[in-house]
Amino acid sequence: MSSTTVISTPSAVLATFDRTTSRWGRLTMIAALVMSLAAPLYLVLFADLGITQTQVWIAFLAVAAVFSVLWVVEPITYYPILGPAAMYQAFMIGNIANKLLPSALVAQAAIGAKAGTKRGEFSALMAICGAAMVHVFFMLVFVGLLGSWLVTIVPADVTDVARLYIFPSIIGGVIVQLVVSLKQPRVTLIAIGTAGFVFFVLVPAIPTIANLATGITVVTTAVLAWFLRSKPRSDSTKEIS
């Protein structure tokens, strides 16, 4: 924005805002993306760990089998709520549903701005900026600076147990949280049934697919959930008649 601009209509100003936030949003996101990949790549390539490309690809494909749907669906889902500028913030910081969206809603309520208006968009953007700074500060200070110190003052046997059982102690809570927040009892039952079948019937029968168990469960659950969904009444009457 140069001060020599004589006429700057609101729409021109907003267009400049869109251009600035899109350009810098993308640039900073790409920078974070490159640096976040460089860290593990350094270990894989230069730490002399004897890791083969095949091992990396197999691991990635196993993870992709589970999360690839969400990579695409989440940005599409949140776009109408966030708008273009905030998209680059939200998908850099993560914790969208539990941190950023509540922050945005609180801010809009605080100044009485409605979602979907320009005021609402700017309010949400600033709220996410505020949330981002709190996020960065807490992570750097309490995890980055104090985290390793906290770990050193904790007795070794506690750390050992934490390392061994951190995953089961996360997964139980996460499942309950998901089930409650998604409120999809039918899909929940399908998911548990499928997971149980894959784990207790399919994998013991064909042990070679053990690596793919979670991927198979995800795909099967998605397909079953789609075909067994409760159809709107108009659909079902059409089918009956």
Partner: protein, 251 residues
């Protein structure tokens, strides 16, 4: 670190390679990118504020409200992150939980990646090699979220009708099914390990259930944010008690 090749594929001393200075530098760089983005956005918003019909005082109020609302969830994320430090080391936790991921998706990815190498997180099979592959896999997965955002946002902005007209029923069911399927599978996988694992999963689930019930019943919003933190701490406490008192043979 003077020797350029500090790794030892079979060693379970993860922190020896997880704390390399280069990883710290990259982790700090990622946070610098987030800070830079915020600074640019705040300045752009200040300039365009009048055109958007919002005053600079309202911008400030929004920023502060957002920051305050994020304190609770951020503390909860910190608690979870500290619990993950011995598994991944500080730089990896900062980058993985600090960027698009959450503790849940990242440990899920790591666990899936470790399984492909015939290993499990945190036990004797969790070597430096397994850690590096798991870290790579989680980072690639996180990168895909960002790549999808970089590709889709401009398309959605142009109002791409094909994307906009995605069947809403599909959008409601498929993500929920994918998430529930993934975590149900991982949860049942843990049940197949030792009795300590089973009781830890059940404790964590029960704590979360209690937190959500109390949050709903008595309208305490912060309990919802802290649910996962409490689940992990109490889950680990139960695991510790069972594991060390030898009431049950652990892993």
């Amino acid at each position: 670190m003077i020797p350029p090749l500090p790794g030892d594929p079979g060693s379970t001393d993860i922190l020896a390679i997880a704390n390399l200075p280069i990883l710290w530098i990259l982790a700090v760089g990622v946070f610098a990118a987030i800070i830079l983005q915020t600074v640019v956005y705040v300045r752009a918003a200040r300039i365009a504020a009048p055109a958007a019909g919002i005053s600079s005082a309202e911008l400030k109020t929004s920023f502060r409200a957002g920051a305050v609302a994020a304190i609770g969830p951020s503390l909860a994320v910190v608690l979870v992150s500290v619990a993950l430090l011995s598994l991944f080391g500080t730089p990896a936790v900062l980058v993985r939980v600090g960027l698009v991921g959450s503790a849940a998706t990242e440990t899920a990815s790591a666990s899936i990646a470790a399984t492909t190498m015939g290993a499990a997180l945190g036990d004797a099979s969790y070597t430096q090699s397994v850690f590096a592959v798991a870290f790579m896999a989680m980072s690639l997965s996180g990168a895909m979220w960002m790549i999808a955002t970089l590709v889709l946002t401009p398309l959605l902005r142009r109002g791409d009708s094909r994307l906009r007209s995605v069947n809403p029923a599909l959008m409601a069911i498929i993500p929920a099914a994918a998430l529930l399927g993934a975590f149900a599978s991982l949860g049942i996988g843990e049940l197949g390990k030792t009795p300590v694992h089973i009781l830890t999963v059940l404790t964590s689930a029960a704590v979360m259930g209690t937190c959500l019930f109390l949050a709903h019943r008595f309208n305490v919003a912060w309990l919802r944010e802290w649910g996962l933190g409490f689940s992990i701490v109490i889950g680990l406490f139960v695991a510790y008690t069972l594991h060390t008192t030898g009431l049950m043979s652990g892993a």
